[in-house]
Amino acid sequence: MKRIGLIPERILSALAVLSVALLSACAAPTPGAQTSGAVYDPYEETNRKIHGFNVALDKAFVRSASKGYTTVVPEPMLDSVTYFSDNLSMPSAFVNSLLQGNFKRAGTAALRFALNSTIGFAGLADPATDFGIPPADTDFGETLHVWGFGEGPFVMLPIYGPSTSRDAIGVVTDLFTNPLSYAPQRPIKNIGVWARALDQMGNRGRYSDVVDSILYDSADSYAQLRTIYLQNRRFELGETDAASEIDPYALDTEGF
């Protein structure tokens, strides 16, 4: 009994130390630099090695397995996996929305979870969307953003892919604090993690043309992934500024 309680506690305290270390590194670049798509990547050398590992993993296993998976499994079942995984993230979205002071979205997350877990066949369907209930996705990375932490350096995580030091803390925190997702003593019950992994495989297979074009057709897949991730993440967090676009009248287009 005692040992069962001990391990998660140890993990949590290790995470807490790691979080503090990483967060102190979250010195935000100037807001202007962020909105113009600037990149802060002091660990580029290490990141590129991890990226190399991720690409090798994709080439050797993930790509073909995912394509096989999405070829064999019919579309509606792939959708069900997505719904199921999304639904399991709703309790965490609820808590994070509260932490962000976004009570409206917390309510939406609770409502989605209640509806989809019951009349949505334990989350395998998504009647909430059919009823016009908006999505309620959020994560601990966004909570940290709302609390004023800057995104910090860009980091490439093994297997998971591109992130920032702030969002990496979010990913780890979300994974290990969601009781529906993670139970270290009962691996069979880590249902949320497995659902998420399966969903990611589905995405890799379903959008394989897009992913392949980034990973295998671009001149520098690392640089592409980095800029696309950062831009999209800043957009999700509402950090993009339309006025930061290069003024068409100010650019020298002579000769083009």
């Binding site: 798509g37 579309e75 959708d79 999505p135 379903r206 043309d209 897009v210 074009s213 057709d217 671009s218 001149a219 520098d220 640089a223 592409q224 800029t227 696309i228 831009q231 999209n232 800043r234 957009f235 999700e236 993009t240 339309a242 006025a243 676009e245 290069i246 003024d247 068409p248 009248y249 650019l251 020298d252 287009t253 000769g255 083009f256």
Partner: protein
Amino acid sequence: MNDLNRRTVMTGIAAAALSTAALPRAAVAALTEARARQLIDQVVTDINRVIASGKPEEAMYADFERIFAKYADTAYIAAYALGADGRRATAAQKKAFSKAFQSYLARKYGKRFREFIGGRLEVQSVRKVKRWYEVKTIAYLRGQAPFEVTFLVSERTGKDKFFNMFVEGVNMLLTERTEIGAMLDARRGDIDAMIRDLRRAG
């Protein structure tokens, strides 16, 4: 048409007549929200027509390139993508790059348009940002959650043209500038070599 609408229209006509009389021609012809929206509607209609034509892929790419040349500010797009390296490019290199880059975009994004079969783009809103307009659309594709596609429209060239596009916040030109920069780095900054390879890329 109810009373209010009729009154609004009449006021509009009166205002238009007044401004035509009072202002120089250029000001009257200035880009408006309605025109920015119209341009994007036209682009979307033309793209949808190509997709629906069921032509072979190569023929579709040629059509996309024509649409692009017609509605996009191609000089701005090429200059942005080449970035600071544009400053040391010769006039011939700029021209060649502009042409190669257009075809590259048509191939690269043309492949994506396949995913648009059976889908649609809906214009949501138009707003003015500094000297250009931002047209927000939502893309509804089969089997995907709806996502945001934003076009930027200006009349820098004297005609209404779109000069950039964002998909869920990802700036197409910034992303392509990263790619062109990487291609140049891999070729030790040789612009001619980059242009040669760009003709086969995408």
